[in-house]
Symmetry: none
DNA sequence: GTGTCAGGTTATCAAATTGTTAACTAAATA
DNA sequence: TATTTAGTTAACAATTTGATAACCTGACAC
C-alpha cells in the first residue's frame, strides 16, 4: 500500500538527458528530482531520500562512482536503487559500478522505455519486501505495533500500553465482536483478575484520546472495532 | 549466513555458451545446473528450485519468454531471479522480457564477468542484508559505527561504548520500539545479567550528552529512536 | 413514572515504571 | 601504581499507568 509516489533522482550534467528521462519518468507517475553534478546529487539525495537514483558516471565535481560509493556507505540509502548511466560501454566500469553497490548499469545511448522497464523490474523486487510488518490501516487510522504508534489523519496519538493493546486486538479483526472475557484474557491474561468496569474505562480513554468513536459497544455482548 | 550454496540454472541451446558461463559461475561458488532447451529448463527448475535462472531467449521447444512467463506464474518461483540472454539487442524484446517478469536482460556477446557481477548485484538485493557497519544519518545527527563517532550539527559528541551501541541499535531502525530484553541481549549479550536501571542510566547519559531527546520512552514497553 | 440493567464517566489511590543522583567497582590509560 | 574513564548498582524521586469505587445516563420493561 504505497500511498506516496515513488521518488526518483536523476543526476546528469547533460540537460538534454535530464529532460528526456525526466519527461518519461514523470509521465510514468514517478516524482522526479534532478541534479547537474555529483555534489548536487548527494545534496538532493539527502534532502528527498529518493527510492531510486539514476547517476551518470561522467559528472563534474563528483563522478557517479564516487556518489554511488558514498550513498552505499549510508544506512539511509540501504534500500535506494542506484542505476548507473555511461557513455562508455566498457566492461571494467560496468563491473566497477556494480561492485560499488549499483543495482543496474545502463549504457548510452539510452532508450527511455528500456530504462523505465529496467527500473520497474528492480522495483518489483524491492517494494514487496518493505511492507512486511503487521501494521493495521483503516482509512486514516494507522495502528503500528512495531512502533507502538497510533496515527489518525497524520497526527500521532500516544496510547498507553493497555489502551494500545486493547485497540490493536479489536482492530485486528474489524467488525468482529469480542466478548468481555476474550478481551480480558487477551489483554490482561488469564490469571489476572480485574473488575468489570476496567475495560470500560480503557475503552473510554481510547475514545477520548482518538476523538473518534472507532470502538462500538455491543450491549450485553462486548465491543468491536468499527471505523 | 547462507549455508547452502546458491543454485543457478543455465538454459541455452549453444553448448559453448553453457560451458563458459557454467565455468565462471562454478568458479564463483555457485551450484550450477544446465538445460539445453525450454522444456528441460522447466524440468530442471522444478527439480532443483534454483535461486537464479539464466534463460536464453532463442531456444528449441520453448523459448525464453515462454519459460519466463511460465515460471512467473508459479508461486514457488516467486523469489527466483530470472536473467534473460539474447543475441538480438532490440528494444522490444528487452522490454518484453522485463515485462514478463524477468529481472535482468543481457545482450550477447556475453562477458562472463559482467554477467557474474550483474547476478551478484541482483542477489545483493534479494538475500537477507548483512548487518554491516553503515553510517546512520538522520537530519543533522550522524552516527558512524566505524569511527565510533556521533556528530550533531557538525559538532562531535563522544559517547562511551555502551552508550554508542545502545544509540546505534535504536537508530538502526528508527521508530521501532525495542523491548528492554531486546536491548539487553543486543547491547549487553544474553549471558550478562545487569539490573534494569542500567539501561535507563545509559539512556539518560545519551540524552544528556547529545542535549536532544532522540530516544523516546514507551512506558511498559521499551525505548525507540525518534528524531 | 419507576425500577432495573448495562454501560459511561469521573476522581482517586495504588502500583508499576522510569528518571535521577551518587557512590562504588572495573577497566583502561598514563 | 596513580589516575582517569566507563559501567553498574542502589536508593529515592517523579511520573505514568491501571484499577476501582462511586456515581451518572439511557434503554427498556412493567
Amino acid at each position: 500500500m504505497e500511498t506516496n509516489p515513488i521518488k526518483i533522482l536523476i543526476a546528469d550534467d547533460e540537460p538534454d538527458i535530464i529532460e528526456i528521462i525526466s519527461f518519461h519518468l514523470t509521465k510514468a507517475g514517478f516524482e522526479v528530482y534532478t541534479a547537474k553534478d555529483g555534489s548536487e546529487a548527494i545534496e538532493q539525495a539527502q534532502l528527498h531520500i529518493p527510492d531510486c537514483i539514476i547517476l551518470d558516471i561522467m559528472m563534474p565535481k563528483r563522478n557517479g562512482f564516487e556518489v554511488c560509493e558514498y550513498l552505499r556507505s549510508q544506512k539511509q540509502f540501504d534500500k535506494t536503487l542506484i542505476v548507473l548511466l555511461t557513455a562508455l560501454n566498457d566492461e571494467a566500469s560496468h563491473i566497477k559500478g556494480l561492485e560499488l553497490g549499483g543495482d543496474d548499469f545502463v549504457s548510452k545511448p539510452i532508450s527511455p522505455k528500456v530504462l523505465l522497464s529496467r527500473i520497474s523490474a528492480l522495483f518489483r523486487r524491492i517494494l514487496p519486501s518493505t511492507n512486511d510488518n503487521k501494521t493495521i490501516q483503516v482509512r486514516d487510522l494507522i495502528i503500528d505495533p512495531v512502533q507502538y504508534k497510533t496515527t489518525l489523519n497524520g497526527e500521532i496519538y500516544t496510547l498507553a500500553k493497555k489502551e494500545f493493546e486493547l485497540l490493536f486486538l479489536l482492530a485486528e479483526q474489524p467488525g468482529r465482536v469480542f466478548l468481555r472475557n476474550e478481551i480480558l484474557s487477551q489483554v490482561w491474561g488469564n490469571d489476572v483478575i480485574v473488575g468489570d468496569r476496567t475495560i470500560d474505562v480503557h475503552v473510554r480513554k481510547i475514545r477520548a484520546k482518538l476523538g473518534v468513536d472507532c470502538i462500538t459497544t455491543v450491549k450485553g455482548v462486548g465491543y468491536k472495532f468499527d471505523y
